[in-house]
């Protein structure tokens, strides 16, 4: 891991011009500004982790997706199909 010491309003640049700037320094938190192209996703790590775990629980076992749908359909028989085919 690269470790930097930065002061208020100083920044670092990562990769193709992703700029990470110290906006405010508080007692137990810092406010950080990230400037990146719109196609570069920027997320708080804990939110990304939360979704990563949820996705890992949602992924179907290989080759089992259709079977899973059949099982879910029987659990949800009362549901009206949303789209007309």
């Amino acid at each position: 891991m690269l470790v930097f010491t930065r002061k208020l309003d100083q920044a670092i640049v990562v990769g193709d011009g992703v700029e990470i700037r110290i906006m405010r320094i508080g007692r137990d938190s810092v406010r950080i500004g990230v400037t990146a192209a719109p196609e570069v996703p920027v997320h708080r790590l804990e939110i990304y982790e939360e979704i990563r775990v949820a996705n890992a629980l949602a992924v179907a076992a290989p080759g089992q997706a259709h079977e899973l749908v059949s099982r879910l359909q029987t659990q949800r028989t009362a549901l009206t199909p949303p789209h007309e085919d």
Binding site: P38, E39, P41, H43, R44, I47, Y48, E49, E50, I51, R52, V53, A54, N55, A56, L57, A58, V59, A60, P62, A65, H66, L68, V69, R71, L72, Q73, Q75, R76, L79, T80, P81, P82, H83, E84, D85
Partner: protein
């Protein structure tokens, strides 16, 4: 909405899905046989597959907003019709939950998709599938 759900189409997720970043292309499978579910099947033999459902079928009042960055990633105009899907997780005991917090959003015009990572969503990661 029928044209948004053509039987088999390939969607590109430029950032992949968290945890499955290597899979960028998914086949969208929707049919009367699968209804009300939709399959997101990754392209390739080892690719992941997900069962998904229209979040409005799980919560009729469901609504979520996209930011301008999200629309840019989807290459979508502000009022463009978009396809929303929530991933379904099935527990070993047979119960199923729906991730309403981080829905999949697909722009049928560009066939690009994202998984919406929202900091302040009021919706849960494990909403019961059966609950209306």
């Amino acid at each position: 909405m029928t044209d948004l759900m053509a039987p088999q189409r390939i969607v590109t997720f430029p950032q992949g899905l968290p945890g499955f970043e290597a899979s960028r292309q998914f086949v969208l499978l929707a049919s009367a046989t699968l209804a009300p579910f939709t399959l997101l099947q990754g392209a390739g033999p080892e690719a992941p597959a997900f069962v998904a459902i229209d979040p409005l079928l799980v919560d009729p009042d469901y609504s979520s907003r996209l930011g301008s960055e999200d629309l840019a990633r989807l290459q979508a105009a502000p009022e463009a019709p978009l396809l929303w899907l929530a991933l379904v997780a099935s527990a070993p005991d047979g119960s199923a939950t729906v991730n309403l917090r981080a829905p999949i959003v697909i722009n049928p015009a560009s066939m690009r998709g994202i998984q919406l990572l929202c900091r302040d969503s009021q919706y849960g990661l494990t909403h019961p599938l059966g609950a209306g």
